[in-house]
């Protein structure tokens, strides 16, 4: 029997499996208080999923407010939409608006690597589409356990194939991301997916359902039993054994990129025709989320006839229909006069579209199933007024001990030249070609830079050549040592990567991956990281336009390294002046190191790879310096003074030299003074290696000097040589270095 509102009123004491659905006693009591009765099965399904950590941000909300508090009007001036919308939107000039966002799909990807990763891509792409934008490119920051662990061999190939399988089939170039290995991700890999899209400023669509009498249309794939997760508890109660055993479908959703590609083109044609009032994608929490969010953001109520939803399974209950996370579905609000035109476009693309509801003048979300009311709730209580927790915060007891355990006493290498090769072959620094080669980076013909460049860059406007650059970064080891500084360092690196390609950083998104919020030590890391990131953004003067929080990333009671992945978006007014990463593009180049090198090895790749050591303090981030460095790089690109640039990060100058030589297929002679180990492997922030044509050397260095940016000449590019020579140490043939750099991942995963 279907549990109706009438039934709920007459059976107030019926026991409900709210605990199995993840609701706490007081949360369940609050639902009863809101409704003045017990919830129906369908209502319980809605509240439980919408009040989950993933949908409600109940543990993070109080901290995330800080992003808004630290964003000034000046920072906001280019923002067309921000936190709270499906994705942040930025005005990039020439009448273009760009929208971008990262989201996590960590847990599903551990359970089912291929589908988990694939639907992660699918979900973020629909978020971008729901802003009215054409999705243009994707990036995927990924983190795995030890590279040689059995489970990594199960998880990594599946996740990479899933990211590629879905994105390639959607026709979106994959222009960058990260692949990082650390033991802490062993039972909890991180799959973050970023999508960027563009639209004309006037085409921005926001998710709301205004206008009494407007129709609610569900279009895209049919709704099935996949991705139902916790709600199967309700299902198993409804369908007892006497009815016949119900086949449980995986709680990880199954993606169909072909359907999504058609859905994208169909949606864009609908937007172009101007017949969509409001739009919302169906992601986590499915129809529960879409209907309650649309209604909550609008100015009226909504009535939904649930039996109209096209299904791909028989006998689905209202609770199941509402919580299904079947992929490739969108919900639109359309004026009655436009419904016919809407349906015509859907028919052209063979997309199933069904009028499932109507905007009403009340303030209730009413859902009926075959004329019986199964949901009758104030939509804001579902979508926006969920529980808020002020979780306990406690600096970990061993944080001091961790910071006191500095890398100072670690034995320094005897053979520094050999270490260059050893480090280049280490899994975290090794070429990620094995991964990125499985992603299409060319489709749509707008990709100007992709991995292994410092940032991905795409052309937005073919006439003006305006484009955007994007980079995502985070070093979890730095964040573990000092969450506040670690978040600033992640921001600094992403900012620097964008500037190193000649683009001006303008906006920030994030994906905050942490352990359990019920652990006060984790909450301390989270609070510190949010503060560090927000303060850093304020210092750089660029706003956070959106983000995502993923908690409960841990194995047993051991949390992952705190991993606040930061994405920075930059604008370049002419992509033809982008700065490449590899040297050798111009005859006669000088190598300059911008910034200062200090002895900073806390959390470094050297300490990690060679000594398995994590302790001390991370490098210091000087954001004023980063800002200046960015301005110098953009000016250098604008005036054609820089022919290559590569940011210094993990692995220090040594790794930057190896990469710039190998990517450019050109040798170099390098001369350094002082302690060569520190010069080559320290991970001091705020540094970029640039190649300048000899004819521009004077002009460029004069500019650095005039603006007080420390610079040093560290070598020359040598097109005649097939080696990286470090004076005083010897030379490393490029083919040997390439074998080391490119051989590691194939040896592990082929």
């Amino acid at each position: 029997m279907i549990d109706t509102v009438k039934n709920a009123e007459s059976t107030p004491d019926q026991e409900q499996p709210y605990k199995e659905l993840g609701l706490k006693d007081d949360e369940y009591a609050r639902i009863k208080e809101i409704l003045g009765r017990r919830p129906t099965d369908a209502e319980l399904a809605m509240y439980s999923v919408m009040w989950s950590e993933h949908c409600s941000y109940k543990s993070s909300k109080v901290h995330l407010k800080y992003f808004g508090e630290t964003t000034t009007d000046g920072m906001r001036s280019k923002m067309l939409a921000g936190i709270g919308e499906n994705a942040g939107v930025v005005d990039i000039g020439d009448g273009w608006a760009v929208t971008f966002k990262v989201e996590s799909h960590n847990h599903p990807s551990y359970v089912e690597p291929y589908q988990g990763a694939a639907t992660g891509v699918g979900g973020i792409v629909r978020d971008i589409l729901a802003m009215g934008a054409r999705p243009l490119a994707v990036m995927d920051p990924l983190r795995f356990g030890k590279p040689d662990a059995e489970d990594t061999k199960r998880v990594l190939p599946g996740i990479v194939a899933g990211v590629g399988g879905y994105g390639n089939c959607l026709g979106l170039p994959n222009i960058g991301g990260e692949v990082v290995f650390d033991e802490s991700y062993q039972g909890n890999p991180l799959v973050n997916a970023l999508c960027v899209g563009a639209m004309r400023v006037e085409d921005l669509h926001l998710a709301h359902a205004s206008g009494t009498g407007n129709k609610v249309i569900l279009y895209g794939a049919r709704t099935g039993l996949d991705g139902i997760g916790g709600v199967s508890v309700l299902a198993s109660e409804t369908f007892d054994d006497s009815v016949g055993k119900r086949k449980k479908l995986p709680s990880v959703q199954v993606g169909d990129p072909f359907t999504e590609k058609v859905l994208i083109e169909c949606s864009l044609e609908l937007f172009e025709k101007g017949i969509v009032v409001g739009i919302q994608d169906l992601g986590g929490a499915g129809l529960s989320c879409a209907t309650s969010e649309l209604a909550s953001a609008g100015d009226g109520g909504m009535h939904v006839w649930l039996e109209r939803v096209p299904l791909r399974a028989t006998g689905m209950t209202p609770a199941e229909i509402l919580s299904s996370e079947s992929q490739e579905r969108m919900c639109a609000v359309v004026e009655p006069a436009n419904v016919e035109a809407f349906m015509e476009v859907c028919q052209k693309w063979d997309v199933i579209a069904t009028e499932i509801g109507e905007v009403t003048d009340g303030d209730r979300l009413v859902i009926t199933f075959n004329d019986e009311v199964v949901v009758d709730v104030p939509p804001r209580t579902v979508a926006h007024e969920g529980p808020v927790y002020n979780r306990a915060i406690q600096r970990p007891a061993d944080q001091d001990e961790l910071q006191a355990n500095t890398p100072d006493s670690l034995p320094r290498p005897e053979n520094v030249l050999a270490l260059i090769k050893t480090m280049a072959a280490s899994p975290n620094l090794a070429s990620k070609k094995w991964v990125t080669q499985q992603y299409d980076r060319y489709v749509r013909g707008g990709t100007v830079l992709a991995q292994p460049s410092d940032s991905g860059m795409i052309r937005i406007d073919e006439e003006t050549h305006r484009g955007v650059a994007l980079s995502t970064d985070c070093n979890g080891r730095y964040t573990k040592l000092d969450p506040y500084e670690g978040a600033r360092l992640a921001l600094a690196e992403a900012y620097r990567n964008v500037a190193a390609t000649g683009a001006t950083p303008v906006a920030v998104t994030n994906c905050l991956n942490f352990g359990s919020p019920e652990d006060p030590a984790v909450m301390w890391q989270f609070e510190q990281a949010v503060k560090g990131l927000a303060d850093g953004c304020a210092e750089l003067g660029i706003p956070v336009t959106g983000g995502n929080v993923s908690f409960y990333n841990q194995t047993g009671s051991t949390a992952i390294l705190p991993t606040p992945v930061v994405g920075v978006l930059g604008v370049i007014d002419d992509v033809r002046r982008r700065i490449p990463t590899g040297i050798g593009a111009e005859a006669g180049e000088t190598l300059l190191l911008l910034g200062e090198t200090r002895e900073e090895f806390g959390g470094s790749e050297w300490a990690h790879h060679v000594h398995g050591h994590l302790g001390g303090l991370p490098p210091k981030a000087d954001l004023q310096r980063e800002k200046l460095l960015g301005q110098i790089l953009v000016a250098g690109s604008r005036d054609g003074m820089v022919s290559a640039a590569h940011d210094l990060a993990e692995g220090g100058l040594a790794q930057a030299l190896v990469e710039t030589c190998l990517i450019g297929e050109t040798g170099a002679r390098v001369f350094l003074s002082g302690d060569l180990f520190t010069e080559l492997f320290s991970e001091s922030a705020g540094r970029v290696l640039v190649a300048v044509p000899r004819t521009e050397e004077q002009r460029f260095t004069d500019m650095c000097t005039a603006r007080a940016l420390p610079w040093r000449k560290v070598g020359v590019v040598d097109p005649e040589s097939n080696a990286l020579e470090i004076q005083g140490l010897g030379e490393l043939p490029l083919d040997e270095l390439r074998e080391a750099w490119e051989g590691t991942l194939p040896a592990l995963f082929d």
């Binding site: 390639n168 990129p257 072909f258 359907t259 080669q437 992603y439 060319y442 489709v443 749509r444 013909g445």
Partner: protein, 223 residues
């Protein structure tokens, strides 16, 4: 020069093919899979992607699309037709070209800049290249291994119908390193690599692919 570019549901590289036609001073004419006429075009490009989601088998459903019946008829009468990647798979399924494309031998999707040698510069699409010229264009496919029986391979080799061959390591297990072939008349060419992604060194590895579209211009002007 008016060149039709077909869009099936799931086609991805249609925008790139249209751009390549424009770069060669041609007019790109969008053709929809359900169209029953070719709108008077001089030539047709069947672009890459995942037509109909690659369901059943790559290209197996697309060959039955209404527009393909027109393409088959026109190709048999001598109209220049180019199939790129999924387009090559579709032309093979439509029997305009012999053989089949199968899963890459290493089972992964491969996206890389690929050197090709031009083995035949007498087709409608390759006249601008020097014979044995080496060109660098993107290859991006999961099912790009060219397979055919011995008789077909002999027929292709003996009659100079291999148009492009992979240079260096074979990226997908193709027989005889075959990257592209032509029909007996030389008007229909299919290849797995993507010349339309190599028309400008800004967004591609080179502009080596533009030669195919400029070759077509010569072919159409001469006709």
């Amino acid at each position: 020069m008016r060149v039709g570019v077909i869009t099936f549901p799931g086609t991805l590289d249609d925008v790139d093919a249209q751009r390549a036609v424009k770069y060669a001073d041609g007019e790109a004419v969008p053709l929809w899979h359900g169209d029953h006429d070719l709108k008077g075009v001089d030539a047709v490009v069947v672009p890459g992607g995942f037509s109909y989601g690659d369901y059943l088998r790559c290209g197996a459903i697309a060959r039955f699309a209404p527009v393909m019946q027109e393409v088959i008829e026109a190709a048999n009468k001598g109209m220049p037709v180019l199939g790129i990647c999924n387009g090559f798979q579709i032309l093979a399924e439509a029997h305009l070209l012999p053989g089949a494309l199968v899963r890459n031998h290493k089972l992964h999707f491969v996206c890389r800049d690929q050197w090709l040698s031009v083995e035949n510069n007498t087709t409608a699409w390759t006249s601008r290249y020097d014979l044995e010229a080496e060109i660098l264009v993107p290859l991006k496919s999961g099912e790009g291994g060219y397979q055919a029986d011995e008789d077909t391979l002999k027929e292709l080799e003996d009659n100079n119908r291999v148009v492009f061959r992979y240079v260096g390591e074979n990226p997908n297990g193709s027989r005889n390193n075959i990257a592209g072939i032509t029909n007996a008349k030389g008007n229909v060419v299919g290849l797995m690599p993507h010349p339309e992604h190599a028309i400008d060194a800004l967004t591609g590895p080179t502009d080596d692919g533009l030669g195919m579209f400029l070759s077509l211009l010569d072919t159409v002007v001469k006709a």
